[in-house]
């Protein structure tokens, strides 16, 4: 078998192995990224100190801020509004086209709809 032939049969295996190696390297790098210290220790310590001071400030407040009341009525109001809209759509009669019931004049009406001359057509007429 020629070198080319051997390379041709080996390449997919090498590609897969390389891919797996790159994946493993990326996994290891991601693990280091996600667990390594993320800032200069002094900066991190200062930020943590400010966070702790913020927490102390919250705990020292005379009273915990009141929770916003849960809107238990909200789903009910929404449901009623939706039901009312559907009822309006279904029950209120919508005005239809003004056509005579016996069909008289329907021909003219459809002719008028089909043939509405544009200005260029009007010239020879």
């Amino acid at each position: 078998m020629t070198d080319e032939g051997r390379q041709g049969t080996r390449r997919p295996v090498d590609g897969a192995a390389l891919d797996a190696a790159l994946d493993a390297a990326l996994d290891a790098a991601l693990a280091r990224w996600a667990r390594a210290p993320f800032a200069a220790p002094a900066g991190e310590a200062a930020a943590i100190a400010r966070i702790v001071a913020h927490g102390d400030g919250l705990a020292s407040a005379p009273s915990r801020p009141a929770l916003p009341a849960r809107r238990r009525w909200w789903p009910l109001v929404t449901g009623v509004a939706v039901a009312a809209s559907v009822a309006l759509l279904v029950l209120v009669p919508r005005p239809g086209p003004d056509l005579p019931e016996d069909g008289a004049g329907a021909g003219e009406a459809s002719f008028a709809l089909l043939f509405t001359p544009v200005p260029e057509e009007e010239m020879p007429l």
Partner: protein, 190 residues
């Protein structure tokens, strides 16, 4: 530092016990709790946002919410950590913050494993530096998923819980994040 990932066992963990006291209105317990969670929370928020100042702001906002909403905590539905992670990640991914461009975090100092030789260490350090730069170009949500999955060692369902989405969506976030990182790193190498 990593956030604990153990599921709530029959005996609640220390933070959950403290938070139960906070829920009952004990300010001293809140002070203690803040001291315990400040570091790991800042780390997670920083990895998500790529900026320590923004992360600090997010942690403070999340703490305020934690203090205000403590009364709603139900220990029967999980321990303190899943509850806190949800609040923290929400605060970090708040629209005002996540749309700001992230700066690459400083690459980690020495690789944690001293076993590899100097060549491998240099290679790993170089990859870490390039990865940090590539990370800064990912969307914040993908960074959060990667940080929770690789850093906190959470399962897909736990990451999904923290991000307020489904495990399937997390799978997609991780796959897209990894693919983007691979493309950026490969592009640099060429």
């Amino acid at each position: 530092m990593r956030l604990p990932t153990e599921p709530l066992a029959s005996e609640p963990d220390a933070e959950t016990r403290l938070f139960l006291r906070v829920r009952d209105g004990d300010p001293g317990a809140f002070r203690q709790l803040v001291r315990r969670i400040a570091g790991p929370s800042l780390a997670l928020a920083t990895r998500t946002l790529g900026d320590v100042a923004l992360a600090e702001e997010a942690v403070q906002e999340a703490l305020t919410k934690l203090w205000r909403e403590a009364a709603r905590f139900d220990a029967g539905r999980g321990g303190f950590w899943p509850w806190w992670r949800r609040i923290l990640v929400n605060a970090a991914l708040d629209g005002r913050r996540r749309l700001r461009p992230a700066a690459p975090l400083e690459a980690a100092g020495d690789p944690p494993d001293p076993a590899p030789g100097p060549g491998e260490q240099a290679e790993a350090a170089d990859l870490d530096r390039r990865l940090a730069a590539a990370m800064a170009r990912l969307p914040a949500r993908q960074r959060a998923a990667l940080a929770l999955f690789h850093g906190e060692g959470l399962a897909m369902a736990e990451v999904a819980d923290a991000l307020g989405t489904s495990a399937k969506a997390v799978e997609g976030l991780l796959a897209r994040g990894r693919a983007a990182l691979r493309a950026m790193l490969d592009g640099e190498a060429r």
